[in-house]
Each structure stands twice: as C-alpha cells, then as structure tokens.
Subunit: 453 residues, 4 copies
C-alpha cells in the first residue's frame, strides 16, 4: 500500500507506505495534514519517517511530523543533522512482510540514501525503490551543490550509485523518485509518475554512456539555484520551528493595505498576465498562482510581510501552503474582495502593456530592448532575433544589463514569466515595459522565424 | 429543523423542512442534489414539495425532485398547472407536531400562496412563514407581471394579502421569503437571511402607508424583466424535461473552438473585467462568473451552443449549475486550459480599453458618448455629468440610441456590468469602447461630482 | 451576514457575524478551524471575539482564536478573567452600519452579557440578540451555579435581565441563544434554531409568570452538573493552553493495546448498544459516539490516556474534536481496524445481556434490581413498576445504592444510556447486568403500563 | 498522466488516461461521476472508452459514459457486442505523443484485448500495459467461463497471450490490470497496485512453468462464480439502461418497513457481526457493509425491493453505488435512524448467538454441526476438526447438506461470512445457529489445532 503525494509547483513527491498497521513516510512536506489524514483513514500509526537526503527546494516536514506523531526520523549518516537518526547502507527495517533496505546512494548529495521495498511474502526481488534525487523519470540528480570544483567527484559518485546500487535492483523495480516533471532538481524530468529500472535503462539518455562521459555530461549541466535554497539547506540540516496550524492570513481592505504600504511590504499579485496587465497595484510583484511555489523563492525575502492579491477570495490556503513549504511564514494577509476592491476604493491603478506575438512580429527591429527570460538552454535551442537573454530568476542579479532608456519588451515560454519579469522591472524603476502573451509557444505556433545558433 | 438553501446570483431561497421523518421542500431549484443529500444525511424521506407561486426567474425543480423521489407537488389553485396538485386557503398538512397551513396570498401572482409553520407541541402561534414573493426583508413582491393595466389590481391584492394574511400571524413570526438581497424579484431586498413580521412591520417602508398609497407606490415601481422570464413562466406552468445528471461540457482546445466559431455560437467569457480587457476572443460576451445567473438571461438564447472561457479550468460546475437553473441546457463546452491556451495557440486577441475613474475625470467633456448602464433608479439618484442612460439588460433593445461614430465610454456601479456592456457593443460592431473600472462606486469614493436631478 | 455554528452533542451554538469586512465571533469553540475557514471564504478579518459568559460545559475557544488571528476578546466585567477585555452595559461596537450593543444580563452567571445587533441602515430597532444562556427556545438559563443558597438571588437577576433587557427589545427581535435542544444548560430547550422575542413571550412558559413565581420555579429546578464543569470553569476564567492542530491519535493494534491495559487507561467504546453487547473489551466504558460530548464528562478523567474503540476506523476526528472541546487532550489512540481486530487477535471477549421491552415485560417481578438511569424528572413523570432511580451521570457517586448480589437490569429512554450504565457497573465489579433495548420509548410504544406518582 | 480508479469490494480497477487534451477511460464503472469530475478538473475531453473484455463481475459503464460525453467505445472484435466499435490486434490510437496499441490477448475471454501505452517522445518501448483480466499482480486470469471442456483451450490461448504478447513488451513495462487483491476474477491477486512485466516474470508462479503445465494448472483451478455474473454478461454484451443520477432511496420508518414486509422484500442488514448478533430484524440478511459488493450477488435478486439496515444513516451512497455497479437498481430504501429506530418502535428483535474461538474450543466435539463457509482451497489448507465445508456463496444451492435438527455452528476466516451464512440459514428456517467471532484467524492466533489433509 504505497501512496504518492504530490506537492504542486515544486513537483515534490513524497510517499506514504502502509505496512502491517504502521505507516512510513518518505520525505514528508511541512504541512503534514495529508499524512495524518491518510493514517487515520487507513487505521495506521505513523512510526517511521525517512529522508532520502537533505532537501534544498522545500522545508522537509520530518520534524513537524515527528513532533505530532512521535515517529522517529532516519536519514543518511554522511551529514551531521541536528535531529533524527543516521542509517547506513544495508540497514533493514521490517514491517510484517514488507522490508525497507537502505542503500547509500551519494552523488546528488553525500548523505543521499535510497530505500528498497521488498514484499518478502512474494520474493526477495525488489518491488519498488524510493530513490530521492538520485534518478528521476528520464533524468538523474543534479551534482552542483558542492561547488563547481566538486562536480566531477559528485558525478562519479552518482554514476556509481546508479550503476552499482540502483540498476542492479533489476529491471522489474518500480522507481519512486522525489521529484516529478517541472522540478528544478532535475534538468528535464518526464511527466511519468512511475517509471521502472528497466524503462530508465532503455530510455534515460544519461544511462547510455560511459562513466567518463556521464561525469562530463553532468559536470557541464547548468541548472538554476534560487537563493532561498540556502535557507532550506540550513533548515533541513538543523530543523525548523513547529508550524502546527497554517498561519492565519488577514483579510485586508484597501485602506489598511494602503496604510501598510508605507512600510516595507511584499505585495504578491497572483493573477494571470491578462488580469495583471488590465490593472494592478503599483509596486506589486506578479507571480501567477501556480507559479508561486517555483518562483517565489527567487524574489521574496523572509522579513517583509507578504500580502496576496488575487481576482477574488478563494483558495488562499493553497498559496499559503505553498509559501509555508518554502519557509515563508511571513505571509501576512490578502486584499479582501480581490483586486476589484482596490479600484472600487478609487485607488490609483497601474497597467502593463501586452503584445500578441503578431504585434511583436510587426514591431520587430523597432527601437526597444527585447529580453528573453527563459532558461538558458531554451534560449540556446532557439530564440527571437535580436533578443538578449537573462533568466527570470536571475534578474535581481543581472538587472544592470538592461538599459533604462529604451522600451523593454519581454518574452518567455508562454507570457507568464515575462509578466513576472515586467512586474519586477517596474518595481526597479523601469517604466516602458511590454510582456508578450503566448511568447515563444505562440511565436512558434504562428510559424514565425526562430534563430538557432 | 428548517434549512435555507440559497442559489447564488439569482438570490433564490428554497427551504428544506424536516419533520417527523419526512422532508418537505419549498420552491426547490432544478439541480436537486442538495435536497437529496440533506435527506440522506438526516435520514428523511422527501414526500412533499410546495411551490409558493409560478416562479419567473428560474426553473423550479419540483418536477425533477418529484420524478426522483416520488414526492407530491402542491401549488396554488388559481393557475392551471400541467402537473401537481392544487391547494387552497386553509388547507393544512400535518407532520407529527409540525403543521403547515396554506394561505392564499395573491398579489405578486394570482396563485401565490404562503405556508405557515406551527409547532403544535409548543403553541398554536405561527413560528415561521414561507411567503414566496409576497414579502421580503425590506421589500414586497413586484406586481407587474400581468401588464401595466393590472398593476393597481395586483397591488391591491398584495396589500390585502400582507395586511389580512401575513401581518396577522403576529410579530413573533419568522419570515422565510423566496428571495434575498440581489434578486430582481424585489426592488431593494435587504441582506438579512431571516426577518420577522414584527421587524418588517416596524421597518419595511411599504408597510407604513395606506392601502391607497401602497397601490400607488407599487404601481409606479419600475423593475426590469429579462427576456428569459417568459421561458421560465412557460416551463414552470407546464413542466420541464427531466435533467438527471448535469450536462457534460466538453473541454475544447483552441483549434476546435475556432472551428466551431464558423457556426452560430455563444462564447461566454466569465473572467473579471481586468482579465477580459487584457485580452479576449473576438466576439465573446463578458459576464463575470458571479454575474452569470443574473445577466445571462438578458443576452443568451436557448439555441446556440454556449462555450465558457475562464482564466483556468476550475469550478465549471458552478457555472453549469447556474445556467441549468435558467434552462440553458445548451451549454456545450469550455476552452480547456483557460484563456491562456487561446494566446498560446497564437490566435488573434482583442483587448478592451479600461479607464480608472481618475482618467474619466480628466477626460470628461471630451468627444465621446458616456453611457450609464446601471438601473434607472440608480441613475436617477445621481449620475456623472453628460451621461446617457440605458440599462445593461436593455442594450439589445435600445442599441439604436448609441452613436456609432464616436468613442463610447461605459460605466456602471463597479465596472463589471460596464464591461459586459462593452463586450456586447463590440459584438454589435462598435469599435472604440472604454469601460470604467470602479465606476460610480470609485467615482463617489474619489469625491468626484455627481449630478442629481 | 450571521452564521450559526453548532457543536453537536453539547448543543453549543456559536455565531459568526460578518460586517464591513470584519468578522465577529460570539462564543467560539476551541477547535477554531470552522471560523478560520469561514473568514477566508468570505474574505473577512476576524477582529472581535465576544464571550456571553464564562461557559461551564465546554472550553471556550477565545484564547485559541485570538492567538491565531490577533483578534481581541471581550466579556462581562463582573468576573475577574485572566485574559480579554471587560465590557459594560451600553457599550457599543460599530462595524459599518452594523452595531453591536452590550447588555448586562446577569442571572445565569453574574457576568453574563447579551449582544444586540442592529442594522442602522434600516432602523434603530433590534434585529437580533445573542443572549448566551439567558434565554433559549422555550427555556431560560439555569441559576444554580453559585450554590443552592444563591438560587433565588440569581433567579431574580435573571428575571430582571429578561423582563428589563431582553423583552423590551421588541417582539421582532430574532433570538440567538448559546444552546439548542439537548444542552444541559437548560432544562428543556426546544428544537428551534431561531426564535424571537415575540414567540418566547407568547410560548415560553417561564415568561408567563410573576417575578415571585419565576424565582420559585427556577429555584426549584434541579439540573445535573457533570464533574468536568469545574475544570471548564477554571479554564474559561484563566485561559487554556493553545491547541494548534488537533491531537494526533495513535492507531493501536490489539497487542499494543493489551500491553497498555496493564497501566491505567480509559478504553472508550463508542459503538451502538447492540454492537457493544455482541462483544467488547473487558473493562471498557461504552458511550455511543453521539453521546460522547454529553456523557464523557461524567466518567472520564484528565490523566489516564483515552483509547477509542469503534466498529471501524472512520471519523475519529469527530470524537477527537468533541473530547478536545471538553479539554480531554489526553486522548491517545484508537483500536486500529475497529473492534473486529480485537477478536481476530483471539483476545477474550465480554458480552452484555440485552432485553427487548417484551422480555422485560415478561420477566417483571422477577428476582432482579431494576434500575432507571434517566433524568429524575423523566422518572417522576412515569416509570416502570419496581424500578429504582439513579441518573446515569450520578452512578459513580451513588453506586452504593445498587446491590451486588442480584442481577441488575437497567433501562433509560432508549437503551443507550442504560448500556453506558451497564458498562460502568461492569467496570465496578457487577457481573449480572442486562440493558433494555428501546427502554421507556419502546415500553411506551408497546403500550405497557407506566407508574405515575 | 494515468490515474487508477478503484471500486472497492469487487477490487475493480479502471484507468483514466489524459493525453493531449483528451481523456481515455479503460473499463469504466457504471457510476461515472468519478471520470466526469477528473475530466473537468484536468480540463480534458473524454473521447475514447476501451473495454479490455466483456466483464462478468460488474456492469461496465461504457454506455453510460458514452451517452453523457459523446465518447466512442472500443472493444475486441471476437464478440458480437450490441454497441461500440471492434478493434483488432495492432490497431493504434494516437493522442499527441502518446500511443495506445491494441493487442489481441484471448484466454480469459475470446475477445480480450490489452492496450500498450508508449510515450513516443521518449521511446518506442512500452511504458505501461492495460491488461484487463489477462494478468494480475501474482496471478493470471481465470479460464473457466466457457465451460469445463474448453478450459484447456482457453488456458492455452492465455499462455500464448502472456508469452507471445505481454512478456515480450519487456521487463520495464508497468502492468495495469483490471483487478486488485480481493477480486474473484483471479485466484490470489497480490496487494500491489502496480506491478511490472519484470516483477511478474520473476515472481508470478504461473509464469515459471511450461505451456503444458500452465494449462494443467489453470484447468484445475476452481473459482467461484456468483449467479449474478450471468446478468452482468448479458448487460455487458447488450448494454444496460442509462442510469443518470443514482437511484433515490427512501428513508423508511419502522411502521412503513413493517408494512412492506408483508410483501416480498430483501432486508439487507449491513452492520458488523457483533451489532447484528446483538439484535436484528427477523428475516434480514446480514452482509457487512464492505462485503456488499462481493457477496450481494450471491444472495440478492433483481426483483424484490432492497431495504438497507445500518447502525445509523450515514454513507448510504456508498452502498447504493456498490449495488448499482452490480445492476441492483431495485434498491428501494433504508431504515431511517438505523437499527435503533426498530427497537425504539418496540418491534420484535431477533438475536444471534456468537462464540469466541475459545468457546468453540471448549465446545468442540459437542452435539452440533460445525460448518466451514470459507473458500474450498482455504478449507483444504487447514480446517477445524469435524467441520463440514460449504462455501458461503453456495449455501443456497447446497443447503440440503445441512441438518435441521442439530445446532449449527458456523465459522469462516474472520466471523463476517459466517454471520452472513447464519443470517441466510435463519431465513431458511434454521433456528439454532452460532457464528464464531474471529473464526480461523483467531483460532490460529490462539494456537488451536488445525487439521491438514
């Protein structure tokens, strides 16, 4: 009885395993109600929590879950955690007929472990493996967290973990990685919830090469590292304060919000690009709702109160949860009644210029700075003529590259990240900004020319 | 055990009464699951359905509910219904200690009845009264459904129903009307779920006057009558086809939707004004989600397939339900992925111009046609200088009054109805349109001048 | 916008009032999620919490809710609370057009207040009143919390509160009391969620008498006071620890549970009488699920771990919530898999003898002790010949009255409380016990003779 | 994007596949809301329905789902279905990058097909296979539906399907069968939601043998065939009437139920053995709630109204759904208030004798007929001395083997089926019946002797 629990946006996968009256949770998230509810509805007692590694992209919920349930926490021995118990290669945990064996699988991090699940009532063969960030559907874990110099070393470790530990489990083994498609923890993870050792052996391009070539490939891999990762690493090594109930967020009327704006404040507008463009609060940052988990960590800090602006008052808990998973407990409130309450209050509005790709096509070559904020590799594969590249997440760092005295037109994959970029640039004082709706996806669908280098 | 069930948008109130193992439903709506669920969770058998009158603003669910449960339907004797059983003044229904007595209370319609609930284990005094459209919190029912000529007659009947039937129940009686605030079935209903005979006697301005004055007031009352009311009247007299499960709506990709647009089609864009303004499909009608129940009936027909466009794919069932309540079973599908899928497909976009009230203030007196689409009485109470009045719902009828050769700037109470108006005018060929965000509410909040006649 | 929130079992009514962007909560319960969810879905900020009095029958959630939201707490000035702010007669709180006025309404307790809600946009007349334990549907508050001697004094205060404060609000006023039918805080509350001043004036038998007679009636009233009330009074005057998330309860297998039984432990079997009788764990106390809120306080203590036994694993959160409302944070776990896991594990079973009323009729006059555990007044109204009366809740106190050497046959209203009684007596060493299914209800329905004194 | 939907009790697995804006459903059940809801929440249009074979154990929802959505139905060509479209080996369906290929895989039935899912953007290798009743986790499909004579022929076909079609897909392939643990469609299916070709190849005992041996094994396999299978086969070949909304079930008070009992009626008591034993309605059949999907088909007919009796009024929809899946649209009502309302009404009660295994141990050898109602193979593996075997489902057929003049003591695996058996025997006139709580599970746990032949 294994249940996959997905945390949207960061594409985090945790697992709830029921065996012999007990529940084991692998890599829990910080808002742990989902595990508590499962335990109750299945009549299980949560007794074991495993961390496949010290996670970087979210706050692990081990301490929270252990605090609530009394369960014990286990993780790899090669890092000095401030909590929990170390386990080592070959350690076995027995739950009735179900056995979980620990494999030391360093590479992504030094203390990475995998867990092999066997149903001993059936066979000694591995049935499933929880591989953390060692291997994903179509990908392998990133090896760049210890600095550029140690990449080859880590890549070598990863190769050995894969070829000496994971692949020998046999083609039949179902793989349960810690991330799905969309995560920044792998370059290009496929949209398959479950994969198998056999399928990866046949189709994962990184498993088709020699150790040497593998190290070369992984060493050359350039992945983005949002600044909040540092905080996560600290928390996930040292533990984070107990959350209990999710933070209450205040329903703010425009008058109160306006008053708060005199002090430092992060107004996070989570509407779609069209709605943000139609009107928004001056100084607000736009990250569309579904983009919050993945992009908030690039732009938000842990001090200023965060206030949400949406079209309406629904489903604030989703955003609240996704921020809490990243440790943004400084979420304070939301504009009650949604953005309309702002303009009904006769507050001043800002708007943003939007272009369709057809307009961009017509204007191309005009007097503006065309900015591509996609990932570098997407840009490299093909871009619109004349565009300059800065990844959206790196705008704070590289803003100096963008001229202040000409109009800036921004595109990305679809028009979401470009609008985030525009909202950020506006906050930084840029005034003539345009976001391209549909961006490269629409541009390509329209058959417009793409430059390949 | 009385439970109020509200249908949002049309502010329809139905009631579920549990007594002695049986359930009685007063004025059920067409999507009857809510009653079935209540019955099951309380262990009750639905046996009686009462209609306080032939409703005009939604399809009554009596036939649907009777079909499913075997319950019997009862309504006033002064209309020739094609289904159900007539009841007359003084008829009593006993459910254990609970008694429901029928009162003939014509005025709103000729066959209007009210139901008095007494708990005979306590007293012969009325505890509650289900008054249909006879009296609301702060209002009384409209009397204009039989034509201008018969208004005085109906108003007289209503006065007599109120003063001879309802008020004599005693100040202690809790009143349960068929509509709450926002309904078109009363001019200005208050936001009180429950009121009492005593509270209305003291505070309802229409009960403070003589019979003569009452007739005069009611005869002079001008309320809007959406064209779909006719269909409702027909259905509610003759019965409507059994619905069963709510209609399935197809998830349409842009290619399929574009193809459908070659034929007659109603694209109903349910986004907020800012999002609609930022980009929309050419030829689409904008009625914001919460406005659909109240405004769809002015603009939609019963033949053309209806396709919904929202920002995303959530909560389509709400809109589906609200359309089905008005008989729009011709709802066909929705743009899958929301509006972004349209521009990602590189389809052409339309935008709409938006003004804040501050911009309007600056531009006032310029060369444009300023259109006020609020209710007439709101206009009469105070308007922006130079504006022409046409109620949004009457645009189809009075479009000839709007010049084609100058820009048209539209305002309403808040910017929602004005955007609906703009989207309608665009469909009709007008090209230079502006909707004012915040409209009169913001205008007033900004302290800008209002003209009173 | 007023929403009634009921806590089942103790029939506690709290109220959530939305006005002008803010939410006011009257008498919140300790598991406050319901208010937080309402606030979020309506876009309101919880800023005010009112306590109508120091409650005795549950832990008030004011401190919990204030801790989470930052709202302020208000209560009557005539008690020295360790938290919150005192208010006094005539204090007014304004929320837009909505006004809440404080009335000093002592009688039930000295610091009891009522809150009058007026919609000033409509009238100066009272629309609703939140009356705490001053008046209920068909009842008035109990006056016995300050000892027998002070009953007349308190009754006098209550009379004055009713006749000088509540009734003068006018017949039109909707009354919102702190308890509904089934509460021990009123002798015989009716099943009407809402009542009115007018309806009570006409039908509440206690309002039909002189002050003198009223005092006499109330002074003579004998109501039960569960021992846990003392704890509630302490907590509700001094504040209770913050709860946060509801306690996690462990899923215990029979082996673990059996092991725990070596130490002090409260096994609370929440199944129906038939199921408990068919087989149960030796030493377990049976209180059917819905009876837990009302009867746990008579039998449970605050030290021993509480373990639940049900037929299955569903809906443990309900019981958990109801125990937490009474401060039983010592809830520890539940038998995983329900009672069947106990016998599947080959543990020893106890059974309980059940009689139908027909069997009782046949056996009447035989050699057994017939015990009536209903409320005294029910017994007084009519009982089965030869029965001795001890209220179920008072068994711990009066157990000496029950002989050990003859069979004991127990009846109540329906067979639930009698089974609770049997389970308690069994724990105390009684061995020959029979519970009568259906009890007085069935006895009467069967037409069997009842003794009236 | 593949989602497994389980129907509890019959352990039926259907699959919802999302690809390129469309949804494909494999083997839908009759209550199709689950698919409609998934489609809406994921923004997909249901266009294709595949039946892996004519199912025997439930009514397939293809016709229902096609009626609602307009989707097309596809199934194997080797049976003359009254609806849908035939497909043949090698047929391919393309949904963007996702390809579904049809494999002819006869053996369980002649028209059985499997569907291979490939993600062509990744590889030509099979990623998943939907294998219907060809192979399960640890099992293969039964081959006995065409009569004893054709078993070897069907087993041979199955072997070839397995070895020539399924296994060649490669060890990496995730297998998605139509049934999970507990289904009667396989002798002994494991509790693994997902398995792989590789895991089965290594661990499935039936795949370790020669073709000859396989045929021999499968031919010898004896599985139970409930009588309702015939109805299912007819419906699933010819189509069944459209269901729409689930049937309404009446809340019956004891008086009404008693009146109905004068005519033919099936009272289905869904309580646990202890509760049923403690008291029940004379003539009622006891199948515990979770056992209804699997055992109703042995005892219920399609004519008599079915009335449910539970401890309470909750979750009737679950039982209603599970009956409708088997075509029991003749579900009529439930005893409102649960079983307690029966005895409160002073109706006569029956009880059932229960023994613990310890009591059975003591009484063993006494003058009673000891009946084992488990599956034959469980009996063969080990039984209690002196017991006679008749499978619970075959009681109607073999009742003549049970003597009428001695007490009958019944055991099964756990005490559930034995109580069902007792309730059935009671209806047939047997009077001295005892069910053994815990049965063989407890017997073994207690260490009592088991006879092996």
């Amino acid at each position: 009885m294994v249940k996959l629990i997905k945390s949207a946006g960061i594409a985090h996968h945790s697992y709830f395993i029921g065996a012999s009256g007990r529940a084991i949770v692998v890599d829990p998230r910080r808002d742990v109600e989902v595990y508590l509810d499962l335990a109750e509805s299945w009549g299980l007692d949560i007794t074991h929590i495993f961390e496949t590694h010290r996670n970087e992209d979210y706050i692990i919920g081990s301490v929270e879950l252990a605090h609530t349930t009394g369960a014990e926490i286990f993780h790899g021995e090669n890092l000095d955690f401030a909590y929990g118990n170390p386990v080592k290669d070959g350690d076995k945990f027995q739950f009735g007929n179900i056995e979980l064996e620990v494999l030391d699988t360093p590479g992504h991090t030094l203390e990475s472990i995998s867990l092999v699940l066997r149903d001993l009532s059936v066979s000694e063969d591995a049935q499933m493996a929880f591989t953390g960030d060692v291997i994903f559907a179509g990908e392998t874990g990133r090896v760049d967290f210890y600095g550029v110099d140690r990449r080859p070393e880590m890549a070598g470790l990863l190769y050995d973990s894969l070829f000496n530990k994971i692949l020998p489990l046999g083609d039949q083994t179902v793989l349960c990685p810690a991330h799905g498609a969309g995560s920044v923890c792998g370059a290009d993870i496929r949209e398959h919830d479950y994969t198998t050792v056999g399928y990866e052996k046949k189709t994962n391009h990184q498993l088709q090469v020699s150790r040497e070539k593998f190290i070369q490939l992984k060493t050359a891999e350039e992945l983005y590292t949002p600044p909040y990762f540092q905080k996560m690493e600290f928390y996930n090594q040292n533990g984070v304060q107990i959350l209990g109930r999710l933070p209450y967020i205040n329903a703010l009327n425009p008058r109160i919000l306006k008053n708060m704006m005199k002090d430092r404040l992060c107004i996070l507008d989570i509407r779609k690009p069209t709605s943000f463009a139609g009107g928004h609060i001056n100084g607000s940052l736009n990250i569309w709702r579904e983009g919050v988990p993945a992009f908030a960590g690039w732009f938000l800090n842990y001090q200023d109160p965060i206030v949400l602006v949406d079209d309406h008052d629904h489903r604030m808990d989703e955003v609240r949860q996704s921020l809490v998973r990243l440790g943004f407990d400084n979420i304070y409130g939301y504009l009650a009644g949604g953005f309309p309450s702002w303009y009904l209050h006769a507050e001043h509005l800002d708007t943003l210029n939007l272009w369709s790709v057809h307009q961009l096509k017509e204007e191309l070559g005009g007097d503006f700075f065309l900015l591509d904020v996609r990932k570098l590799e997407d840009h490299t594969e093909g871009y619109i003529e004349g565009s300059h590249h800065i990844y959206v997440g790196e705008l704070p760092e590289k803003i100096g590259e963008i001229p202040q005295d000409v109009p800036v037109v921004v595109y990305c994959d679809s028009g979401y990240k470009s609008t985030t970029a525009c909202s950020y640039l506006k906050k930084c004082g840029y005034t003539d900004l345009t976001s391209v709706l549909g961006s490269m996806t629409a541009w390509t669908n329209a058959g417009y020319p793409v430059v390949n280098e």
